[in-house]
Symmetry: C2
């Protein structure tokens, strides 16, 4: 099958055709399946989404390292993906996950652990110095 | 106060210094304050964030129209903002909101009303034909 045909039939064979746009990336929000807490926002490219769907473990594309990033590969704080949702414009993803440990490299359960006023509102669940060398 | 000084003191006077990057935009996730449901993902620039904080009503920057967008200004489906959170890298926002009606122009409560497999999982709460002319 040619690449063009594969693209055309993606909706039928693979569900919703995600619009990765010019950058090749879409924002992907991770939400705790049990508590509903929004854990983090990162970016996914087509490869990261495919790996997520294939493995059931959350994958993103690291913009700073420009590479595929399996969440928790270093820290052990993996995300088991229960469901991947796509928004109405098909240009944003929602990973509904079971989070092991904390999502944030700061040791917090959620990366959204501060208000924009600077108040700490999130729970700290691990010591980052003990996890990241 | 000069613009430069204002920028330097922003962290002290206005809380966390949000990193709007080269594009001037950050993704902003809206979450239902009561149910925890992730309602939508849009983008905010500095003006939209300031207007949100000033008014307590969710504002975004429409990329398609390239203008400030008060959510619900047309549909009446406004978002009253209880809290604005910022993530660890200060380049993504979380609006915790009381949503009137539905967030999605399709009539669904949430824009994330489909799985990436194409299954409908979201609740439809209004008829878009009756809301948008």
């Amino acid at each position: 099958m040619s690449a063009a045909n594969e693209e055309e039939t993606r909706t039928d064979t693979d569900g919703v055709a995600v619009d990765f746009g010019d950058s090749g990336l879409v924002p992907a929000v991770a939400q705790d399946a049990e508590t509903g807490e929004v854990l983090m926002l990162a970016y996914a490219d087509r490869e990261a989404l495919e790996r997520t769907r294939e493995t059931g473990r959350a994958h993103y594309h690291s913009r700073s390292r420009d590479e595929l990033w399996e969440k928790g590969a270093t820290s052990g704080h993996t995300q088991s993906v229960e469901e991947v949702r796509v928004d109405c414009d098909a240009d944003a993803l929602l990973y509904v996950v079971d989070q092991t440990g904390g999502a944030c490299h700061t040791g917090h359960r959620s990366c959204f652990h501060r208000t924009v006023d600077g108040d700490e509102v999130g729970e700290r669940v691990f010591d980052p110095d003990a996890v990241y060398e």
